[in-house]
């Protein structure tokens, strides 16, 4: 691939996917400095490996970008030996009398839901985050996690059931 065309392609990718990749990293890593470092590393790798990337199908690019970002995040956790993405003490307390409609209107709904997701197993949580927060299609999730799209469906269903159980345990069911 010609350097100029790589440059143009990268600029296009950067403008289109920077925000979503940044959010993807920020959801998993605490601390703005660490997030920025990881995002920098991610896009640098994207730029370096772009000439060798040949998408096999439509949507493969997005899966590839998230795979690079995911690998950077996993590498970060391996170095830091962090287990929990969000320290539980930082999460707001959830009132036991709170119900779904109240929670929907709450300004802190995102933080509360993220806190509740911490109670779901890491494997199921990751797939829920990819589906509902990163808004990836099942095929893209399959590419990121190196599993089949059918397996994504099965694991997503199982993860949602567990999340529902967590909501019920906190009396957060309709």
């Amino acid at each position: 691939m010609h350097p100029d065309s790589t440059r143009e392609q990268f600029e296009q990718i950067y403008e289109q996917y920077f925000d979503s990749i940044y959010r993807f990293v920020a959801r998993r890593v605490r601390g703005e400095a660490d997030v920025q470092d990881l995002v920098s590393e991610t896009f640098l790798k994207i730029y370096q490996h772009l000439p060798a990337f040949h998408p096999k199908h439509e949507g493969a690019l997005r899966g590839w970008l998230y795979t690079i970002a995911k690998n950077e995040v996993y590498q970060y956790f391996r170095k830091q030996k962090h287990v929990s993405h969000t320290p539980l003490e930082e999460l707001p307390e959830i009132a036991s009398t709170e119900h779904i409609p109240d929670l929907f209107e709450s300004e802190q709904v995102s933080t509360i839901v993220r806190g509740l997701l911490e109670k779901v197993e890491a494997e199921d949580r990751e797939i829920i985050l990819l589906k509902y927060f990163d808004e990836l299609a099942n095929t893209e999730i399959a590419e990121v996690l190196q599993i089949t799209a059918n397996h994504v469906g099965v694991r997503l269903h199982r993860g949602l059931q567990k999340f529902k159980k967590v909501l019920e345990d906190h009396n957060l069911h309709p």
Binding site: P3, T6, R7, F10, E11, Y14, F18, D19, Y22, R23, A26, R27, E32, Q36, V39, S40, F43, L44, Y47, Q48, H49, L50, P51, A52, N71, I100, L103, F104, E107, V109, S110, I112, V113, R114, I128, Y132, F133, E135, Q146, L160, Q161, F163, K164, L167, H173, P174
Partner: protein, 195 residues
Amino acid sequence: MKHAEELLHRAQKKEKIVIDQDFKQSLKQRILSTPPAEPAYDKNFVWRRFSILLVPALVSLTLFFYFYDTGSKYLPLKKSVNQEQAEDATAPKSAPSPATAGSSQQGNAVSENAIDRDTFNDEKTDSYSRPTGGTESGILSPLDKPGVATLSSSSSAATGPETATKPFVVLALLFACLTIMVVGVLILKKSKRRK
């Protein structure tokens, strides 16, 4: 289930992640100022694949050709039995060997015994009595029968058990190389998947 999904969507909409626009622009400029490099790990990956596969393959081929050339001497057991039987059948024509030779009478008795054994099923004559006669004469004991005698007294048969184990060693080595190759391929597949 639907409420859980709605809650997740809602949480995503309400999510507040502030992106520093200065960082975004500066990062873009910084990355674009560096030339896009060829991915280095591709070359390493190819080299690792070849080294893992090539070394056991070369060892296997070397072993194969080495034992292919010299392999004939590692099949002595079966061959010696056949040879001995063939030699026994032609024994009267040649001179009696020192191992079985006591006298020419004994040589004749051995050869007759061998012929009678071969023709026993066809002829069913009084030839059956001849070995008995031989035994009675004290010249031949049951252990002196040709088949038994060659297995126990032949020099090539004596080395048979030792050499017969060598093909198994070769097979074990080949199997080990094959296992290394398979494991190598599996490791490479896994490392590729991680990338």
